[in-house]
Symmetry: C2
Subunit: 199 residues, 2 copies
């Protein structure tokens, strides 16, 4: 099987890690080799010493992209879950990796602030955390992601289904449950991929 990179971008708390793990489980079940590169964990392993300036964030994202590229070209599905706030850095990874599918984990800030399980948004609002994406640092949403999941109002299962179905439609993973898709889901995915020039 050919590898590819599934890149989850979105604000802190928008569900990137959760979706990464769920998609990983689904793909392992389908016989794929999968590796999840989770932002925080990767930072420790590849980017200790880097901070949260734009330059440091971009370097971190480039390094994750480099590892995704090595894995993808060796038949592995690399799933990156990283805020990756800057469009340019994401575009550079897309260009370098080739088989690259972007998922925008879109969740409105009010919902994130209300959930805030780690209390990070509260601390950022009080100025205790500098350069906090969405509060005191920019987030540039993707303009043409292959998938948008609305993690503020859709449940995990719905988001995972849309991601998997998109991968199936792109011919990146074997389809197993196309029958189970509702016509409106199917139509939305087809419309997006058509807009992007895939279909």
């Amino acid at each position: 099987m050919k590898g590819f990179t599934l890149w989850l971008t979105g604000l802190s708390g928008s569900g990137k890690s959760t979706l990464a793990r769920e998609v990983e489980a689904a793909l392992l079940e389908r016989g794929c080799r999968v590796e999840v590169l989770d932002g925080d964990e990767v930072r420790q392993n590849l980017s200790a010493g880097l901070g949260f300036s734009r330059a440091d964030r971009d370097t971190n994202i480039r390094r994750i992209g480099y590892v995704c590229r090595l894995l993808s070209r060796n038949g592995v599905v690399a799933i990156a879950a990283a805020i990756s706030p800057y469009r340019e850095a994401r575009a550079a990874n897309r260009a370098a990796i080739g088989r690259y599918v972007e998922v925008h984990c879109d969740c409105d800030l009010e919902t994130l602030k209300a959930r805030d399980p780690k209390g990070l948004y509260a601390r950022a609002a009080q100025g205790e955390i500098a350069n906090f994406t969405g509060i005191s640092d920019p987030y540039e949403p993707p303009e043409h992601p292959e998938v948008v999941v609305h993690t503020g109002r859709e449940d995990v299962e719905t988001c995972v289904r849309r991601i998997l179905r998109t991968l199936e439609r792109l011919g990146l993973v074997p389809g197993v449950d196309a029958e189970g898709y509702r016509p409106e889901e199917e139509a939305e995915i087809a419309r997006r991929l058509e807009d992007l020039g895939y279909l």
Copy 2:
């Protein structure tokens, strides 16, 4: 096929990159997935900004080890070619990676100085390059490498044969030309692996 990491350590100019590429070609021919992580190239991608202090070298080696681990556990043969002068950092990678085979590219300093195709040893001797391994920075040779190749007096083919035969004996790659080994080569490899507790 199970992945593993082949780690080539040795002084600058000792033939690590050459052997990495030769072994890569041989393993590709045998149907393996292979990725070469060459020290200089990886430094650009993973460790820009790091210098050549012990701490920075160790961080660089740990990062290469992390990538090798991800590749290896996904069925890829990761071949690292990096000076990796410190025993402790190499041992940490071995422990983290598991399926790890160390190759010591052993070449005496006089030969390296005489060859010196890039003029690095001459510049280091004149103090133009600080922290140059073997001249102004330590190199701790491996105590128990799976393979020792004497790149100062053995030709590339001999070195590659010994590496491949060791991988075959360890059951890491399919054997194709065991018949072609001379009894004394075979005996040397068997002796080393027995000393290490493999056989």
